[in-house]
Subunit: 129 residues, 3 copies
């Protein structure tokens, strides 16, 4: 299995994301459903994007660790933030959890009209091991 | 091919979704585009989330059956509901079509500002066989 | 590797999309993050959906060409358009770049409350080679 992060010439480069990620077979693929700022008790951890994003990243890490993987295995994540909020605090949370030595995943970011009750941010992901 | 549904300790558990689904190779992957409440004639089946979700689930089942698969093979689905509507009727439709003996897929739910004309709900999915 | 485009009986057919695409293993999968109307200099190319969609398609093509692939290898794309705009110009841009001899990808289209600053359209994709 090989994973390669693409940032071809002719496209803008950013340290925050890769333009695409290639996964060669055979690979194990992990489809992670939308993670929110929800703790093990099922409750929303707090009313800010920062708190919720931090918890969502923790959930992603917990899921991946249960498969012997880590955030570095994520090849694409999709972030939704509720209208009226910025993801700036989410970016700060990302910088806390992400090892800058790892090439970042491909990313999609949508500002949505809403999410489940009390949720300000939702992150789903595909990881390859 | 193996498919495993992950609900690791440290995360909230729900009967409605799995936190993630692992697909081991070799697998056949089916990428299903956004399904709406549209019948074979191309027309929207009705003005409610319930009718539309029921038809979207039927469409998903039809697509999967054409590949010898079923809803149980879905590993991740992404549901979009138009602002001002709740997915409660969609959940009821899901409960009608889903065999509770099957581990549920990973899920992402967004409330969006809009979809195609007349659509209140859209469901896309990745399935593995 | 085989890729088959599904349009099973019982579902509406459209020349614009396939209902689903099957990817048989072994395949190389390319996860392409959300592409916007952003040029190589990192700047938004213009204030219209048409200009931005055209550039986003160019970016998709550039990424795929860097892997010896093309737009025809896309199996599913997800298009987000900002509320208040229609994707009509995006469809026109698609018709310019898409070879009609190729079976079209599965598609998901959301109207979202917003995207990154200045962005009116975002397209992410999964391709299989």
């Amino acid at each position: 299995m090989g994973t390669r992060h693409l940032n071809p010439e002719g496209l803008h480069r950013s340290p925050a994301f890769s333009q695409a990620v290639v996964v060669e077979q055979p690979a194990k693929t992990i489809y992670i459903g939308g993670q929110n700022g929800v703790g093990a008790d099922g409750e929303v951890v707090g009313p800010t994007v920062g708190e919720q994003a931090r918890q969502a990243f923790r959930n992603l890490a917990t899921i991946l660790e249960s498969e012997g993987a880590s955030l570095a295995n994520i090849v694409h994540w999709r972030i939704a933030v509720v209208e009226g909020h910025t993801f700036d605090e989410g970016v700060a949370a990302f910088q806390e959890v992400w090892n800058r030595a790892d090439p970042p995943p491909a990313i999609t970011v949508h500002v949505v009209a809403g999410l489940g009750p009390g949720f300000l941010v939702e992150i789903d992901a595909v990881a390859a091991v």
